[in-house]
């Protein structure tokens, strides 16, 4: 890393996240100006987007090679009052909370109170959602049965394909015009709606070109004032680049990166999409530019690396938008889930790893930034060289890249009805979510607390935390005469809450489609232009809605404990067990020890427990799979937690496997922390008993102490482990390579471990930025030592 990159990286690392009022102010100005009143909603949104890009302050940092910031400075983070209008109390919490805080100035507070709140309070999507969903939805939400992604953030979860490397926005405008010309107002009752949407896209295209042109101008000014001839020339080249892209297709490596970055900023300025946005298969996209520029002598390998490193810093400068309340709990991080995909296969099914794959991996290793996150897609055709290079980086203890099974991803997408080309060109984004890049809106609707459903079942529909009856009366737990009866009751209860969740999501999807279309994003995702439909209104080629199951290990072990102790061995009665749980095991030490020690647990390749896990999976799958959404697609499941297993655990009392109340649940498809006692192969075998192909992603975390991976031999064994898991159709695996002692020391002396990055759950984060309970949980996760 050269001095320039070091400085840019340091600037990014040391910048304090703060709230920038710029976006909220400009948006409020625009909507207050009356311009929005006489146009359609999509056109108004596009004009607002244009107003933002016309008027936002430009930020060009010293020494930068890729330009453009979402806010007026690195980590100056905007708010989205049209989505979630923060109260002053929200601002205070953001400002003062211990983890993932944002500085809020007095000026910002004043502006929020005097200008922003009066215009947006009561009209934000968040306000609309809470006033329009059923009361039973609100009750279940408040009880912690599920979360809702779209109450503070826009439908996101999409990734770009290769289209921007082939087309400029002038070309996209031509496509939009062609689509407008094709509208048939005689036969298509939606033609005028489509016209509005397409016009909005056209305005959004102008907006991004204008934004680039403003940068070109500013760069020219800076060049004129620059005394250092080398930097002057650089600034002139950058101005030239910003004059070309994104209006035109990129012609060079540098242009390709700058083009993507403008698009990225456009997406995250238009709305606060969850997950941010993502260039996807970057090694494939960049290779042609790299090869050509190297051949013509326009670029050196060293310069290419420098440009990529500068590009990496830009991601790290954009923290996830500020989140409050449950949303902050479920995703307690600055990370905005941009997941660079490396490797995989091409549309013809051939291995896609190339020279750029290895360069990107070098950049990842050297930059050691939390953002962007990265992953390697491993297919059966991927060379060992690729996987080994990834493992070499993983063993440095940085938690990146994570590893994905291309062959499983492709099968998942084919099962959902995607074309084989679209499937092969896809990958994963966010934590572990599978999608057809550039062609799919695969929205995560919220986490679902499977274990809470059991707690409510055991209490005959009552939530023991509040005493409220929020579920069905499925029978007194002590009257069940068999495990099967209990499981039937659980299934009924599960269906009940899934119905409530999906009913709510139907309302929420329509609110977004109606009030907050995303014309800029719609330009980027096929087939919005062709169909004249917005991304948020079913314009994408594929439209999937996911419900993410959390706590598979916890629900399995709970049910296994009941089955084993109460029904099979009959050494504990249900009444005893319920009493002990009610007392949080206080005064029931012996019973608790037996529950902890003797229960067959998930994660040990033991069919007793794993069979129950499979039954839970099937019940969850059946309750969600294939239900229609309003965007022409279907609801499906995946299994991942981000940090929601901590929140979900906090709303649940004692559990039958001896866990005391409020502790975190298991995360992803990993076993309950400490339940796996037979080593990593047993964990992988248990996890592989899930039918991954019927999900849209599963998350498996494995922690290794560094010793395991020190030798080349150890690395090879790890490769075998990964390959074997993927042979069994495992979707994803990630490794934490740290010792529990290191983590404990970091907890005690956070200031000495500021750079300690750990894998949390589908992403890496600074350990010291995590909440204490999450820190403790990561420490507890089973360490697999030397055999």
């Amino acid at each position: 890393m050269n001095e320039r990159i070091k400085a840019l990286r340091e600037q990014s690392l040391s910048a304090r996240p703060c709230i920038s009022m710029e976006r909220a102010r400009l948006l409020t100005e625009f909507y207050g100006s009356g311009q929005a009143e006489h146009v359609s909603v999509p056109v108004a949104r596009a004009l607002a987007f244009k107003y933002l890009l016309e008027n936002k302050e430009l930020c060009i940092n010293r020494g930068e090679l890729i330009v453009g910031e979402r806010g007026p400075a690195p980590k100056a983070t905007p708010t989205y009052p049209e989505i979630c209008t923060h109260t002053l109390q929200d601002f205070d919490i953001l400002n003062s909370r211990e983890k993932v805080s944002f500085d809020v100035s007095d000026e910002a507070r004043r502006e929020q109170k005097e200008t922003i709140m009066p215009q947006w309070s009561g009209h934000s999507i968040r306000d609309r959602i809470f006033s329009q969903v059923d009361p039973e939805w609100v009750e279940a939400y408040e009880a912690g049965l599920f979360t809702e992604f779209m109450e503070q953030r826009a439908p996101g979860h999409t990734v770009l394909d290769d289209k921007i490397y082939r087309k400029g926005f002038i070309d996209f405008k031509k496509d939009i015009r062609a689509s407008l010309e094709n509208l048939d107002f005689d036969t298509d009752p939606q033609a005028s709606e489509k016209r509005e949407e397409l016009q909005a896209m056209s305005i959004a295209a102008d907006a991004i070109m204008l934004y680039a042109a403003r940068h070109a101008e500013k760069l020219t000014e800076l060049a004129a004032a620059e005394s250092d001839p080398a930097r002057k020339a650089e600034l002139e080249s950058m101005a030239e680049i910003c004059r070309r892209v994104p209006a035109h297709a990129p012609t060079s490596f540098w242009e390709a990166l700058q083009y993507y970055w403008f698009v990225h900023l456009g997406v995250i300025t238009e709305l606060n999409t969850w997950d941010s946005f993502n260039p996807g298969r970057l090694d494939r996209h960049l290779l042609p530019f790299y090869t050509k520029d190297i051949r013509t002598g326009k670029l050196t390998e060293e310069r290419a690396r420098e440009l990529l490193q500068a590009f990496w810093v830009k991601f790290n400068n954009q923290p996830a938008p500020p989140k409050v309340k449950v949303t902050a709990e479920e995703s307690n991080t600055y990370t905005d889930f941009c997941l660079i995909n490396i490797g995989g296969v091409d549309e013809n099914g051939r291995d896609a790893a190339n020279e750029m794959s290895y360069i990107l991996l070098d950049v990842i290793e050297e930059m050691r930034l939390v953002q962007p996150s990265s992953m390697v897609q491993v297919s059966k055709k991927s060379p060992n060289r690729l996987l080994d290079r990834a493992l070499q980086i993983i063993r440095t203890g940085y938690g990146q890249p994570s590893l994905f099974n291309t062959d499983a991803l492709v099968q998942e997408m084919l099962r959902q009805g995607k074309s084989v080309q679209d499937a092969r060109n896809g990958g994963c984004s966010g934590c572990v979510e599978t999608g057809a890049f550039g062609k799919e809106s695969y929205i995560l609707t919220g986490y679902f607390n499977l274990t809470k459903v059991l707690e409510i079942t055991l209490n005959n529909g009552l939530d023991p935390r509040t005493g409220k009856k929020i579920g069905l009366a499925t029978g007194q737990a002590d009257k069940f005469s068999s495990f099967e009866e209990l499981f039937e009751a659980f299934k009924k209860q599960l269906q009940h809450f899934i119905d409530i969740k999906i009913k709510g999501n139907i309302v929420i999807e329509r609110l977004w489609a109606e009030h907050l279309p995303a014309p800029f994003m719609s330009i980027l995702i096929d087939d919005c232009i062709r169909t004249g439909k917005d991304y948020n209104n079913g314009g994408a080629r594929y439209n999937t809605s996911y419900v993410q199951g959390v706590g598979l290990g916890s629900i399995t072990d709970s049910l296994a404990a009941i089955r084993y102790h109460v029904f099979d061995n009959r050494r504990v009665t249900m009444t005893e067990l319920l009493d002990a749980m009610k007392a949080d095991f206080e005064g029931f030490d012996d019973l608790r020890t037996r529950l902890v020690e003797e229960t067959p647990r998930y994660g040990n390749d033991d069919d007793y427990a794993d069979g129950i896990m499979r039954d839970v999976f099937e019940a969850f799958f059946e309750s969600v799979e294939g239900r229609p959404n309003t965007r022409g697609g279907h609801f499906r499941i995946n299994l991942l937690p981000t940090t929601c297993h901590v929140y979900f655990g906090s709303v649940i009392g004692a559990l039958p496997y001896g866990r005391t109340s409020r502790l975190p649940l298991s995360e992803g498809i990993s076993p309950v922390q400490g339940a796996d006692r037979k080593g990593p192969t047993a964990v992988l075998k248990s996890a592989a008993k899930i039918d991954h192909v019927r999900t849209g992603g599963t998350l498996l975390n494995q922690k290794f102490t560094p010793q395991v991976l020190q030798s080349e031999d150890g690395l090879e064994k790890l490769r075998h482990l990964v390959r074997a898991y993927f042979t069994m159709d495992g979707h994803h695996i990630q490794f934490n390579v740290v010792t529990a002692d290191t983590l404990r020391r970091a907890q005690e002396n956070p200031e000495q471990y500021r750079d300690l990055i750990v894998r949390v759950a589908g992403y890496s984060d600074y350990f010291v930025d995590l909440g204490e309970s999450l820190q403790n949980e990561i420490i507890r996760r089973t360490e697999h030592g030397l055999a």
Binding site: T681, K685, S711, H720, A724, L786, A787
Partner: protein, 256 residues
């Protein structure tokens, strides 16, 4: 006659993801019983010395039970060229059980390794030799008197069996524990090398540096600790020992 699958034997552990007991990812089955009593023993529970330790669960199991556990990780053996390793204790201390396990593995095409101290009647090695893909063969002390002191038995059968296996073309990986002042002495290593001069078929050797794991375990089991003041070797000392073997044409590995 008892069917092969129903034969029983005593084991004290089955360990998965064993990555230092032969090639690839393996499952190691620890059979109870050992004729030696080495001062540095890591597995005193394998001699039935620590019946009270909860982690040392000596139990009688059938061949079928052991095979069920071994089968579970087949996908990992296939991927890594691994298999099952029989260790102990001393697996040769239960020859009939071991033969039954080895036959089952062969029938199911699971590669096998036997980790042995070499102290067993030669006839027993004859019985297993054809069924084993790799012997992990321990060689400790060449001087018989000292061998008796530190292991409790003569090294005569150990050396004889090694010759027998080597001369009949078995794959052998020698394992030499480097116990400071006991096995890692100049004298002992030179004697080992000159003994091996006559066995050109044995050219793979693992040097196992000393660690205090065995002592900690003995303390935990409240057994007398006999190597209280032994220190760990330095990297340089380990390297020097490795060089000594390399210069004689050996393929040397440090650790399992």
């Amino acid at each position: 006659m008892v069917a092969q699958q129903d034969k029983t034997g005593a084991i004290f552990d089955i360990k998965k993801f064993a990555i230092h007991d032969g090639p690839g990812i393996r499952t190691t089955v620890f059979l109870t019983g050992c004729p030696m009593d080495c001062w540095w023993c890591h597995n005193p529970e394998g001699r039935g010395e620590a019946p009270t330790d909860p982690t040392a669960k000596t139990r009688r199991v059938t061949v079928a039970h052991v095979m069920e556990e071994i089968e579970k990780d087949r996908v990992f053996y296939d991927q890594s060229g691994g298999g099952a390793t029989f260790s102990g204790g001393e697996p040769m201390a239960q020859p009939e059980f071991l033969v039954a396990l080895l036959k089952e593995c062969r029938r199911r095409q699971i590669a096998t390794a036997v980790d042995t101290c070499g102290y067993a009647p030669p006839g027993d090695f004859d019985k297993v030799a054809d069924l084993v893909d790799l012997f992990l063969y321990d060689l400790k002390i060449m001087d018989d008197e000292r061998h008796r002191t530190y292991t409790g038995v003569s090294n005569g059968p150990v050396l004889e069996n090694l010759k027998l296996l080597a001369r009949s073309g078995r794959r052998i990986q020698l394992r030499i524990p480097l116990i400071p002042g006991i096995t890692d002495t100049e004298d002992n290593l030179e004697s080992i090398l000159s003994f091996l001069d006559d066995l050109p078929a044995v050219r793979r050797v693992s040097l196992l540096p000393y660690n205090r794991f065995g002592e900690d375990k003995r303390k935990r089991y409240k057994l007398p600790v006999r190597l209280e003041r032994v220190r760990n070797q330095s990297e340089t000392e380990i390297e020097a020992a490795a060089e000594r073997f390399k210069s004689h044409g050996f393929d040397v590995k440090i650790g399992g």
